[in-house]
Subunit: 187 residues, 2 copies
């Protein structure tokens, strides 16, 4: 996920997300986005391959940074601690702009195709983190379980964060991990 | 997921899965399936809406039975115990035929569209279980976390079960829950 960055890219992203929310994703054309951002459609395509990319262009960065954080975790870190480090890296990228995240989330939630795309991106990231854990010497099933559990923790934390007014995304993740420990302890 | 049930439906399912595995899902036509099963294409369409339905026609039954098991869990059951009851119901349906599950899993794993479809079906089931937990009075975030964690446990257990020779699916699920407790205890 990007930021409300300055310049044409930032204006295009802001215009696109607001139009998707107001009119619906399907109903918004690239020409509408460019017009609202005060640029040409040609400029839009300098920043984004298509209108869906406005929503998903940060997935590669998120996966790369979270994997780097997992790999940089101390060798003594438990599997879930390494996953928590990866989620911290995600929070560092998207956690500073709840308004952007909330708008993007509302747009995705309103459209079945976009929900599926988001699900696939998250599954891809979870698989990458599981592979990263295997490279740290964690067993196959344990690595998958830790990565998938981390993914569950993240999704729940993210939802609470976008719904909240003053909760920090990092705090929300910490709280979800604490809730997971409570759940498994009472199992 | 169905069974190698007797009659034309069972023969069609077996023929379809074997052809998908041998030739690939995309390359297999309904006429090929009907021919191998020794019936007409018209008979195929009495059992399945299309060739994808051979793989996913049991999703509704799995969701319904697992939700019923969750709802039938004692009021004193913890959220994860209720989810475990739901997964037991899934295991009771698909756990008796590893050969079928293994073939189906291999076919789905080999095809990106089918992998996405499977991911969406699992997400749908997880959301239904979370809703079921909410109706049991579990808080919103806790219900999502328990259902998503259960989904992670199931996916890892399922993979170990299809890869194994003598492990029972129920045992594999129990082992994954135990592994989850170990992971969260060392976090």
């Amino acid at each position: 996920m990007g930021r409300w960055e300055p310049g044409a890219g930032g204006r295009l992203r802001e215009a696109a997300l607001n139009l998707y929310l107001e009119r619906g994703f399907e109903q918004t054309m690239v020409a509408d986005i460019a017009e609202r951002a005060g640029v040409t459609a040609r400029t839009f395509f300098r920043y984004f391959a298509d209108k869906r990319e406005v929503l998903f262009d940060a997935a590669a960065e998120l996966e790369e940074k979270s994997l780097a954080a997992l790999e940089a975790a101390p060798a003594t870190a438990s599997p879930l601690e390494a996953v928590a480090a990866a989620l911290d890296a995600v929070a560092a990228i998207i956690g500073h702009d709840r308004a952007l995240a909330r708008t993007r989330h509302a747009v995705i939630t309103a459209n079945a195709d976009l929900r599926e795309r988001e699900l696939i991106k998250l599954a891809h990231m979870s698989a990458a983190l599981a592979d990263g854990l295997r490279r740290r010497g964690i067993g196959d099933a344990e690595a998958s379980l830790a990565a998938e559990t981390g993914s569950a923790v993240y999704r729940v934390a993210f939802q609470r964060w976008v719904d909240a007014d003053d909760l920090d995304l990092r705090e929300a993740i910490d709280q979800s991990f604490a809730q997971l420990r409570t759940l498994t302890a009472s199992d």
